[in-house]
Amino acid sequence: MRRWIRPALIGLAIILAILAPVGQGNYITYVLTSWLIFSIAAMGLNLTLGYAGQISLAQASFMAIGGYTTALLTLAGWHWMLALPVALSFCFVVGLMLGYPALRVKGHFLAFVTLAFNTLVFLILRNEEWLTGGNYGLVGMPRPDFGLFSTMKQHHFYYFTLTITIVAAVIMWWIVRSPWGRAFKALRENPIRAESLGVDTRRLTLLAFAIGSTYGGLAGALVTPLVQFIEPASFGVAHSLRILLMVVVGGAGFFFGPFLGAGVVIILPEFLRFTEGYYLIIYAALVIVMLVFTPKGLIGLGALLRDRFWGKRVARGDLKQGAQLK
């Protein structure tokens, strides 16, 4: 691909993101804000799953941890910008802890452990009413106010979220292109070989969970002021599954996959209203069809079409090998 195409596309995408809510009502702006927030959560899971190859079904619980921490602190009068680092650090530490099982088990076992973790978080949020408000949740969290720029208006909050998303994306981009990113990919593709080359795979596995979880926490910290109401049911296993599907549908292991995947899950239903209740059926069926024909998601599909069009074939050596080893 020519060198200028990628920066040009990214620039265009940012301009589109800036222009998207212009002239739109509050509802569309709200949906776009949700899209950005879920993109952040999916970006984190993409690091854990797409780059480092560790499946997690607990991303929504980190949104919960980030969201509740921010909510409790902002309700106690902290500014959002001060509450954020606390929430993120907390998610980082809990994420590290969730990484420990991954040192012992892989694949479906890990999927179940993380799923169990998500449900446990849900139960704690619901039952520990003295802290979390239990079933009733927490309500009335203020939106951050930056003196001249208050985010009370829906459009303002969108631009606030967009700024955070871009910062988060730049940091993520830095991580995945750094030697760490290379080591994460090595962990995914061949952990034994990576270990034999001096890569501390234990530490990397933990980091993959911790960083991915921190992004989940960031998304949660943004949900709190967006909705101004949080309750345990918004962070159940179904939501973790939803984020996982965003990553997979967009293209796990591709930097822009989460944005595309979150777009498909959050924005596409708007255009498919006419399908009424059948939307989820169609969506689930398409996910299965996609996994059969192009396991690398929509971005993978794009690359496949481009290669076919331009005549360059990328051999799926890894998959062939995987099939042989099994």
Partner: protein
């Protein structure tokens, strides 16, 4: 399935050709739980509204304008519900009908309030009318009104000294449980078993066994429909022979259908019930509903129906489409059946949006809920 497709196609055609007509129509946003866990309640709410809208349009609409209802599905997700209320308002809704789940209503009522849009909700959690929101109105009594109406029954009729509470551990069940426990404490009745269960739970053996061992004289059962049915089945199996008393849900037609003869003898306090057929409006509604949808209406259907008609009555009393004036008019308003027959029962709202109207005590006898008493509006 066919009906849906035809409906979708006709809606599309009308939307295409009806631009001029749309000028004449007033939009109402029906925001409800059409999918997800709340779908049973949401679909009934929607269908009750459909009947009301047909009647209203046949009757000349509201202030001469035809009513155009737009449906928005919250997927039983509070965040989506907030987005949907926002969307309905962006698309020009004059009033919002919904939502039913309290968790959703608590979130989305903020949006309607900010935009000064009147909102009729089907939720019963006490907190909804305690937030000082002048634009939210109930279509049935909140738990803090409905549940206390039960207290005389426990104390005077059942003469209970010790009671058990079996409740579903979500915001709905917790709301009812808290009110009931507080009322019992006030009345000096001891709560000897307090048994929460998960939404969607299937195994009630432990719950019933705890209640049985507790020595309670009666049990207050506060759960959603199918949970109520499963509970009743298990209670019958273990021979739990003390009175099981619920609020609204326990004696609904669906619960009786699911629990079969295990529902026999269950008692509930209901704000409004489709089985109170000696009230002419309810009987008529019941017939229409069965004819159109081929199933019995639930109280959610009646709530949707009443909410829609209240929108018409009050708007016409105001004389224009103004959310602020509508809210002003609603304060301490009473609509009696004599002048407003489609309200089905004399109905009043206080300054907070809480509703009161006469209610019934109902018991399941021979597979049918039978009215065994009435309670005055409180």
């Amino acid at each position: 399935m066919y009906r849906r497709t035809i409906l979708a196609v006709t809606t599309a055609i009308f939307a295409a050709m009806g631009a001029a007509q749309a000028q004449q129509a007033v939009k109402i946003g029906m925001v409800a739980e059409l999918s997800g866990a709340g779908a049973p309640a949401g679909t009934n709410w929607r269908d009750g509204i459909k009947i009301a809208v047909e009647e209203i349009n046949a009757d000349g609409g509201i202030l001469g304008k035809q009513v155009d209802v737009h449906e928005y599905d919250t997927q039983t997700d509070p965040q989506v519900s907030r987005a949907m209320v926002q969307k309905a308002i962006d698309e020009g809704a004059y009033a919002i009908l919904g939502t039913i789940y309290s968790g959703s209503t608590l979130v989305n009522m903020l949006v309607a309030q900010q935009n000064e849009i009147p909102q009729f909700v089907g939720s019963e959690a006490p907190t909804i009318v305690q937030k000082g929101n002048p634009f939210v109105f109930r279509t049935s009594s909140g738990a803090q009104k409905g549940v206390p109406a039960l207290v005389p029954y426990f104390i005077d009729t059942l003469k209970a000294k010790k009671v058990g509470i079996a409740w579903v551990n979500n915001e709905f069940g917790k709301g009812g449980r808290d009110v009931f426990a507080a009322e019992m404490e006030k009345a000096g009745v001891e709560v000897v078993a307090d048994v929460p269960s998960e939404q969607g739970a299937t195994d009630y053996a432990a719950d019933v066994s705890k209640l049985k061992e507790s020595g309670a004289d009666a049990v207050f059962v506060y759960m959603n429909q199918e949970e109520s049915a499963r509970f009743l089945i298990e209670a019958k199996k273990q021979g739990l022979s003390i009175p099981l008393v619920g609020e609204v849900t326990l004696t609904e037609a669906k619960v009786i259908e699911l629990a079969g003869n295990a529902a026999e003898g269950a008692i509930a306090h209901v704000g409004v019930t489709a089985t109170a057929t000696d009230i002419p409006g309810i009987a008529e509604f019941n017939e229409k509903f069965v004819a159109k949808f081929n199933r019995n209406p639930t109280h959610d259907a009646i709530k949707g129906y009443v909410g829609t008609w209240a929108t018409k009555y009050v708007t016409e009393m105001v004389g224009e489409f103004s959310g602020a004036k509508f809210a002003e008019k609603m304060k301490n308003l009473c609509l009696n059946v004599a002048e407003h027959p489609r309200m089905l029962l004399d109905t009043c709202w206080d300054e907070a949006g809480e509703m009161s109207r006469p209610s019934f005590m109902v018991q399941v006898k021979d597979g049918k809920p039978v009215v065994i008493g009435t309670a005055a509006a409180n």
